[in-house]
Symmetry: C2
Subunit: 419 residues, 2 copies
């Protein structure tokens, strides 16, 4: 199927992608838009003019949901509405009969500002890469086994700060805090000297559940995993190392978490579903994908997403999401197995994406082995951790059904000096 | 000063208290109310009739803020509005000229339902009792020093789940999850067999800060600490023990956190301010109260609040908040020192309130020493951890300026069987 929109041949945002975001034009309030090529479709305007023609009047009220300054209302409508919306968008953008009415509502990307796509409800960060967890264990706990005994039995996670999730392009102020090297007698205070990134995938949750009622792996995949964003879990390793025992990371992480502006739906990623690398021991029953596995419809799927980590223009790593040990649906099922409820706008991160190959590590802590093995950038400069003024970008894409690429776009941030 | 309202002589909710909550009458939407004696004052209605008489028309728009189903809009108005509101409420409820107009808007407590008073933005749980942290260390990490090396240098905290903060009276479903005793080879799944409470004080944050800009101890105390609630941090110790290394508590806590419905303001607690028990070593400068200390106006104050922990009607412990090591303003300053922003509706817990005296311990893990020293209730039954059908209540009060009590009310919850 093709679109009447003029989409560049090499675009990763063709008709099979159609990610959602929140945009504004000068003088207009932010509202939901859908990306096609290098344009944003002003979808609530199009539903308004197109109700008779494409029949959305009989379905969920997408106009009301899309007029909002976040995706949360649309997320709350649930899977049937998401499917209706995708079918309608595909029709509007492919059938030439809609072109005349719709074209006035295509806005060039260059003319819009992008905003945080969701009002983040609860934010949880997981730790789903075996290679990342092992590397961190070797660096932070050299006298112990790299993986803690629980690691292969459950997807370890912790809650992060919702209020400091920011959209791509937001500057990140270098955090200050306490740190103490093992060789020092007392902690000192000052700007972090080990500022790092973590290349992650963020999962946007739609629908909601009742407190006390767990969500199964199947329900997680079918009803609640709306889409994904690129997520950079900025980390101050020196602050984190001193604070995190016994209650986990806090100020080493909570100063900023950046996400990409376009939420790529799990529907658009259907062709990117892959089997997990393998789980041994077999997880407890509540974490198993179940009967769907035999026919290729395992809800505990992995995803084939190719990342680039770019430091001041130099690609320094190429993480592969397919290396992750735990499935997104397993993470969400685990998060709720104690009866914790979920809400539209919940966001969870995969944890750093690192593979066995050192060239696929998703943090500088690992890539420079805690600063002992510097990287050289294309401009000849050397880096261990992030310096003021540095710009960090994560980019990614996934395979589509017909050989095309489904772009996840990018998440970028420049580090400003400590205040 | 006295009120024309008929307040019982032994009431802890006299004119010097005036806590805020969110209430509803049958057939009405929830909105902000203020408790006086055994009544709720329907404050947005009173502002509407009383604008000319008491002059709120010249100040912040309290009517609009109080018509909301949460305190968040009122919290966002900031300290000057909170002061104006308290002065206005005191005038309305003490000067008999206001009685005739105001009395129709006093609703008996028995006729209302209470709701969650705030829409919780970010929820953080601290760990500010030295005795609690030491006891937990002895129980969970018997081969190590009870306190981790960082404990006296910074108020340790972690993010909890905002979406599962519930109002007093909400049943709590026993959580299920993974647990593994050290003696067992593999984890098993099932209902928690070590369900516990933590008696805490919750701090409600008002106003907001910009990302990248730390909030000082002085600013925290003067501008952002709006008030307190009783907080029960329900904890599944078996789930927690298996999951919490290395990233901290997650499912052992996230199934439910109960708070009391009435937010007692820090203004009402002015006479309950006390010095901390003493901090050695002296904390880093950003955690010090500073010059205010000499004249008794130290922003790094403690609070004299007396708790009762009640298990099926039996008082099993009497924690004293004045035993806490870290000040609430220090906790909030620490939370932001890395540049993390705060929002109205943020909530942070003190951590379990436990003193040196075993009769003042705030969790059953400590009171029964991990189940090895059972408690006997008044009905003759024995308890280690919580059984299905048990009702747990935290009650507390603080001294007022003239010998009266400032009640914090209670937070209660009954445990329902696992599903």
């Amino acid at each position: 199927m093709t679109t009447w929109v003029d989409v560049p041949a090499d675009s990763e945002f063709g008709l099979s992608n159609l990610p959602y975001g929140v945009f504004s034009r000068a003088g207009h309030a932010p509202r939901v838009g859908v990306r096609i090529g290098d344009h944003v479709l002003d979808v609530s305007e199009v539903t308004r003019i197109g109700r008779d023609e494409v029949g959305v009047g009989d379905g969920p009220d997408l106009t009301a949901a899309w007029e909002q300054p976040s995706l949360n209302a649309f997320l709350q409508l649930g899977r049937p509405a998401w499917t209706t919306a995708r079918e309608w968008l595909t029709e509007v953008l492919s059938n030439p009969v809609h072109e005349k009415r719709t074209r006035p509502h295509l806005v060039p990307l260059a003319d819009v500002a992008m905003h945080l796509p969701i009002e983040v409800a609860d934010y949880v960060d997981f730790y789903a890469s075996e290679h990342h967890a092992s590397n961190i264990g070797r660096i932070f706990r050299p006298d112990s086994e790299p993986l803690t005994p629980n690691w292969k039995h459950l997807p370890i996670g912790y809650h992060g700060r919702s209020g400091t999730v920011v959209v791509s392009g937001t500057d990140v102020v270098r955090p200050s805090g306490q740190r103490k090297a093992p060789s020092e007698a007392e902690p000192t205070f000052g700007p972090s000297v080990k500022l790092d990134i973590e290349a992650e995938l963020g999962f946007v949750v739609g629908g909601s559940s009742q407190i006390g009622a767990p969500v199964s792996v199947r329900q997680a995949a079918d009803e609640h995993l709306f889409g994904v964003v690129l997520l950079n879990d900025w980390s101050a390793r020196d602050i984190q190392a001193w604070e995190y025992v016994p209650l986990g990371p806090f100020l080493g992480k909570s100063f900023a978490t950046s996400i990409s502006p376009w939420v790529v739906t799990t529907d658009a990623l259907a062709a990117a579903r892959v089997s997990l690398p393998g789980q041994d021991p077999e997880p407890l029953p509540y974490l198993r994908g179940g009967a769907g596995s035999a026919d290729g419809d395992d809800p505990a799927y992995g995803l084939d997403i190719h990342y680039e980590v770019v430091w001041n223009g130099t690609v320094v790593s190429r993480p592969e999401y397919r290396d992750m040990y735990w499935s997104p649906a397993q993470m969400l099922a685990h998060l709720t197995v104690n009866g914790a409820s979920i809400r539209s706008g919940d966001l969870f991160g995969s944890g750093t994406i690192s593979g066995a190959d050192p060239a696929t590590r998703g943090s500088f802590l690992e890539l420079t082995w805690n600063g002992t093995e510097p990287l050289t950038l294309d401009d000849g400069s050397s880096r261990t951790f992030i310096e003021d003024g540095d710009t960090l970008v994560l980019r990614a894409w996934a395979p589509g059904a017909d050989g095309e690429r489904i772009g996840l776009g990018e998440v970028t941030g420049t580090v400003a000096p400590a205040r």
